[in-house]
């Protein structure tokens, strides 16, 4: 098997009810529930993205609780994350404000090499849009973030943003298979190595 597999830790952050768990469910199982209960906790899931050149990237995804009450626990889950998807709901400007707070916190406290993607979810509800594409994109460019709009419901843009993140990550770590397969412990070992291959959040904001 000549294919290389890389493993990265990804954390989802954002205001309650912007669709973090739905986005993961769409990405991991290609499913959507109209009624999902609020996440009170943090779920761990994995999904593998195949890049064009026979390289696969396995995401170890932490889907966290959005409620303010549990905000203090978030650092435990984004600690050592290689990438973060910060979600807002395009039908609510307040959620973009919250996303900005998360991004500021990540820039201050997370690993400096973290790749951050700002994601406007619920693009299927464009009729009720409160956040314009321009506004969000401008902010993302200023902060050097990746940006995209997604719809967990229709699936639009979901796999694209994860693939874009996978392409953006420094693929210099030894393949995960060499470390004896999956598992969170093995994943962490890879993360430490990645830290050294530090890449600042990209200047070229991706719009996919």
């Amino acid at each position: 098997m000549s294919a290389k597999q890389f493993q990265f830790k990804l954390v989802l952050l954002g205001e309650s009810a912007v669709g973090k768990s739905s986005l993961v469910l769409r990405f991991v199982k290609d499913q959507f529930d109209d009624y999902r209960e609020s996440t009170i906790g943090a779920a761990f899931l994995t999904q593998t993205v195949t890049l064009d050149d026979q390289t696969t990237v396995k995401f170890e995804i932490w889907d966290t609780a959005g409620q303010e009450r549990y905000k203090s626990l978030a650092p435990m889950y984004y600690r050592n994350a290689n990438c973060a998807v910060v979600l807002y709901d395009i039908t609510s400007s307040a959620t973009l404000e919250k996303a900005r707070t998360w991004i500021r916190e990540l820039q201050r406290q997370a690993d400096p090499s973290i790749v951050i993607a700002l994601c406007g979810n619920k693009s299927d509800l464009a009729a009720r849009r409160q956040v314009t594409e321009e506004e969000a994109k401008k902010y993302a460019e200023e902060e050097g973030l990746m940006w995209a709009e997604t719809s967990a419901k229709s699936g639009e843009g979901v796999s694209e943003i994860f693939t874009a993140i996978a392409k953006k990550l420094p693929l210099t770590a030894p393949p995960a298979s060499a470390r004896g397969g999956a598992g969170r412990a093995a994943g962490r070992a890879g993360l430490d190595l990645n830290k050294q291959a530090s890449t600042q959040p990209g200047q070229d904001a991706c719009n996919c």
Binding site: D30, I40, G41, A42, L45, L73, Y77
Partner: protein, 986 residues
């Protein structure tokens, strides 16, 4: 067929259903060639159980409206009474894609196959082809059951049609057959549960044995799930299979004989009738080995203190010890005796021990048993130089003890020699059927059944270690090391005795901790860390209630156990006897008979440890001062050991059944299943108002809404934190839930002095988030809130004197009085003292009787709120003053610093007169002086009001000195502290 259906159902998970079942045969020749058209060559092939197969059509549905998926299972046939387990599943054919099943008539080549019988049903053959991409050879079976085969074919046809119809919903089809994974995955073999777990592991709470984990870092889920699973299996099997308990009476004795031969009657040690001087035992000297020619009996020196010693000893004969006397029912079933320093000669170290001394001591033991000697026989013994273990058993029970093993290990000179070390005996006890008085079900079975039943009776492993650890006061670390060394070296060779069917993995040796019940009878040589003179003074103070408890706080063994350095997995009964060391008749002695060269100590101890499969109740623990032949006094301890009665075969069957229920537990839920398995019924828990001493409890429901069993554990936020704050107790910290099971976690507030001291300062709103980690799955948060109500307990004296009113009325720390405006003494202490010194107060039982806890709570509440006491003085009411006294004592003890500052205590204990003591008060902080004067004045008043002021003074000083002169480090002499207080109250 119905029974078969049921037993297959037991194998399946609740989401899966048996649709059709068929008994069939596989014929080896056909199996290989794959040709379906040859009939079996002989009748024997038809009869051979190994060729029998069960074919089951199973269907699975995630939800009522979800698409049905089907599969054909091929199972090994088995006797009807044995449940199917996963290893019986030979093949699984999912019904989809190219799956096919076809039947044909078997051509008969041997016409006389069933010549004698009447027209037999024709043999039909059926071929199943695997669907999907795998090109696996089709499987061919044959059967005679036409009707059942018809059902199977119909069901397969239906499921095939369902699978072929594209789903109507917009969502992409998810025909993954992932539900089959748990059936086809190679499961680890069931853990062997019959061998006892190492007590050092089993005695630790399960959650402390799990991997290190915290939020965002699940630790080693794979090993955790196995630990949780095994604990669950053990507990479940025990719960369901125990049919009662059997009580075994065990008397343990330990005696360092200092090289002597028996020269006195040992009956008091053995719990037989009290000795009479006339029948003192004379040992059989003739058979003593030439290497051990020490003076066996008597004392060649004049013994000036002998009379005194004996008098003291007689007074100390433990009244608590109930001697079994002639009543055979209460006499011990097992007598286990550990001797040390049996032979002190240097030759004993070099040459193999002769049995002469063992014989002499065993002879003395049987002689001391008197009339009951005939009831017992020697079951086992083991000697290593001076150490000897002897186990005597009641003859009637001899047959219940099997697989007797012994071992020994030296830790003495060069870490090898047997002058120090241990000997051990391991017994496997199988309770007798007829005598199981507590048994709920087996009482009316007849004798023949009893005999059969005994064959499969479950047994319990009992281990007895006799050890002798390093001597000398300062060698405590060496003794701890000796313990661990012994623990490592003492190993029983089990040989092939436990090689039961299916237990091939049992090791051929085991350590002493791999037992259900473990006793250590030890000449530990652990000493008491109190100055020599103090020890002697305290031991002589018979009126000093609790003097043993005070001294035991300084006991090296107890502190090693507390610190987890050695023996931390053991329990010990309460010591109410005098130290058993040392009485050297050749040396000068104190009034108690202890020689002056060694600090008296409890060197001879009996410790025990038991797994959940047995309970140990200690009936007595005593020293035997009348047996004076050695420099040690013998110690005895009597126990009732209650062991579970269960049927081994039933336990094994239950274990298999429970293990089957855990199918899917070890699967990683997150990768295959994005759904939630555990659901917290209400993740927001409000505990309301919480206050000191009173626990508030709430239950949090957790339901397993998934299709597979699921385990959880609580984890801390990060590596530095605890799982929960100190003001909260959480139980259980880990558990396993079957599908649909609802379990509860109980949260109880727990405000003790340590947490109150911190919370009193400023924490009114308490909150925390508990992180419940689903093993192999997600983290759940449980948010807990409570409102803390402050108390006057656990404050500093300084803070209490700066309170402008009752502590509950204090709104903010800024409202505290300025330091220069502080009141003289805490009003809470003064209120208690004033009430107690009021008229019509019955002070007789103050600090003696146990207080009524509700009353203590009510009094404390009044102090906290400033409300009037609701108890009016009444000379007939004894309980109210007792409760007030107790509240005062506890309040003083809860202060964050003792009344007498720690740094002044060494000076206080040096005071030699009343005047000096009073001068000491000048050094106290002002508030402390005021409290000291009020409290000691009150205590003086209590003593003077007593009928026996002198005794009362000593009693009260013993109670209050450790509180007023609290000393967490145990650095100051307990005798000195008591003396200092006595200057003020006598």
């Amino acid at each position: 067929m119905a029974a078969l259906d049921t037993s297959i159902k037991a194998l399946l998970r609740p989401s899966d259903e048996v649709k059709a079942v068929l008994e069939a045969l596989v014929l080896p020749s056909q199996h290989e060639s794959g040709t379906p058209d040859r009939s079996p060559e002989s009748r024997s092939q038809l009869e051979d159980a190994r060729n029998k197969r069960i074919l089951a059509v199973v269907s699975h549905s995630e939800a009522p409206d979800a698409q049905e998926e089907g599969s054909v299972f091929i199972l090994k046939s088995k006797p009807i009474e044995r449940a199917f387990d996963q290893s019986d599943i030979l093949r699984v054919f999912p019904v989809f894609g190219d799956f096919s099943i076809s039947m044909s008539q078997v051509r008969r080549e041997t016409l006389d196959l069933r010549s004698s019988s009447q027209a037999s049903p024709s043999l039909l053959s059926l071929t199943i082809t695997q669907g999907g991409i795998d090109s696996v050879a089709p499987l061919t079976l044959c059967t005679q059951h036409v009707e059942a085969l018809r059902n199977v074919l119909a069901e397969c046809k239906r499921l095939k049609e369902v699978a072929d119809v594209p789903p109507s919903t917009a969502a992409p089809p998810l025909v993954t057959f992932s539900w089959l994974a748990p059936y086809t995955a190679r499961r680890a073999p069931m853990p062997a549960l019959s061998a006892p777990q190492d007590l050092r592991v089993a005695r630790k709470p399960l959650h402390t044995r799990l991997s290190r984990a915290f939020a965002g870092d699940a630790g080693d889920d794979a090993s955790d799930v196995v630990r949780i699973r095994d604990a669950w299996l053990r507990a479940r099997v025990r719960e369901t299979c125990s049919t009662g308990t059997h009580e075994l009476r065990v008397r343990i004795g330990t005696f360092n004989v200092n090289g002597n031969l028996p020269s006195q009657d040992l009956s008091s040690w053995l719990g037989t009738s009290a000795p009479s001087a006339k029948t003192a035992f004379i040992p059989p000297l003739a058979e003593v080995s030439p290497f051990s020619v020490a003076e066996p009996a008597g004392d060649p020196f004049e013994d000036p203190a002998g009379e005194k010693e004996l008098a003291a000893a007689k007074k100390e004969v433990a009244p608590a010890e109930k001697t079994a006397d002639a009543d055979p029912d209460t006499s011990p079933d097992l007598l286990v005796l550990g001797f040390q320093e049996l032979d002190l000669s240097t030759e004993a170290l070099i040459y193999a021990a002769s049995a002469a001394r063992e014989d002499a001591w065993c002879g003395a033991v049987f002689a001391a048993l008197g009339e009951r000697a005939g009831l017992y026989e020697k079951l086992a013994s083991k000697q290593l130089v001076g150490m000897l273990s002897v186990v005597l058993v009641k003859k009637a029970l001899r047959g219940c003890f099997g697989d007797v093993r012994t071992c020994a290990a030296g830790t003495g000179i060069m870490g090898l020699m047997g002058n120090k070390g241990g000997t051990a005996v391991r017994l496997v006890f199988t309770p007798p059927v007829a005598v199981s008085t507590d048994s709920k079900e087996n009482t009316d079975t007849d004798t023949t059944e009893d005999v059969e039943e005994k064959e499969t009776r479950g047994s319990t492993v009992l281990t007895f270690v006799n050890a002798h650890l390093a001597a000398f006061d300062e060698m405590v670390e060496r003794r701890n090391a000796d313990f661990h060394e012994l623990a490592r070296k003492l190993r029983f060779d089990l040989g092939a005795a436990v090689q039961e069917a299916g237990a091939a993995a049992v090791p051929v040796t085991c350590n002493v901790f791999e037992s259900d019940v473990l006793f250590w009878m030890v000449n530990l040589n652990y000493r008491i860390d109190v100055p020599d003179a103090d020890v002697r003074v305290m031991l002589g103070e018979e009126g000093w209630e609790g003097r043993f408890e005070v001294l035991l706080k300084y006991d090296q063994l107890k502190s090693s156990m507390r610190a987890g350095k050695a023996f931390d997995m053991f329990d010990e009964g309460r010591i109410t006897h005098l130290p058993t060391y040392r009485f050297n008749p050749g040396l000068l002695r104190d009034d108690m008979g202890y020689d002056l060269k060694r600090r008296p100590a409890w060197t001879d101890r009996v410790l025990y440890s038991a797994s959940a499969a047995a309970r140990v109740e200690q009936l007595s623990y005593a020293g035997h001062p009348l047996i004076t032949m050695s420099d040690h006094r013998p110690v005895s301890a009597e126990f009732v050991v209650s062991v579970d009665v269960f049927d081994r075969a039933a336990a094994e069957a239950a274990a298999e059944k429970f293990y089957a229920q855990l199918n899917g537990l070890e699967d990683a839920h997150e990768d295959t299943n994005a759904r939630v398995n555990l659901k917290i019924v209400d993740p927001l828990v409000g505990l309301g108002k919480v206050s000191y001493g009173k626990g508030v409890s709430r239950r949090v429901g957790i339901r397993n809404v998934g299709k597979v069993p699921c385990a959880y554990r609580l984890v801390p936020v990060d590596g530095e934190s605890a799982v929960h704050p100190d003001w909260l107790k959480v139980e259980p910290m880990t558990a396993l839930l079957l599908p649909d099971e609802l379990a509860y976690i109980t949260l109880t507030t727990y405000i003790d002095n340590a947490s109150a001291a911190r919370l009193n300062i400023d924490h009114k709103a308490l909150e925390c988030t508990l992180i419940l980690h689903t093993v192999m799955g997600k983290d759940h948060f449980i948010a807990v809130t409570a409102e803390y109500v402050p108390t006057c307990f656990a404050n500093s004296l300084g803070r209490l004197t700066r309170l402008p009113g009752p502590i509950r009325a204090l709104a903010a720390p800024a409202d505290l009085l300025a330091e220069n405006r502080a009141i003289n003494a805490p009003r809470e202490i003064m209120r208690l003292v004033n009430w107690l010194m009021g008229p019509n107060i019955n002070l007789d039982n103050l600090f003696v009787s146990a207080a009524d806890e509700t009353m203590v709570d009510a009094i404390r509440e009044c102090l906290d709120t400033g409300a009037e006491f609701t108890f009016s003085p009444d000379p007939k009411n004894e309980s109210a003053p007792v409760a007030f006294g107790e509240t005062l004592l506890r309040l003083l003890n809860s202060l964050t610093e003792p009344i007498v500052p720690v740094e002044l205590q060494p000076r206080c204990v040096d005071m030699t007169s009343r005047d000096e003591a009073f001068e000491m008060l000048d050094a106290f902080p002002p508030a402390a002086v005021n409290v000291w004067i009020s409290v000691t004045a009150f205590l003086h008043y209590v003593c003077q009001s007593s009928a026996e002021p002198e005794t009362k003074t000593k009693e009260i000083a013993s109670v209050f000195a450790p509180v007023l002169l609290r000393d967490a480090e145990h650095a100051v002499s307990p005798v000195g502290r008591r003396h200092f207080l006595m200057y003020f109250i006598s």
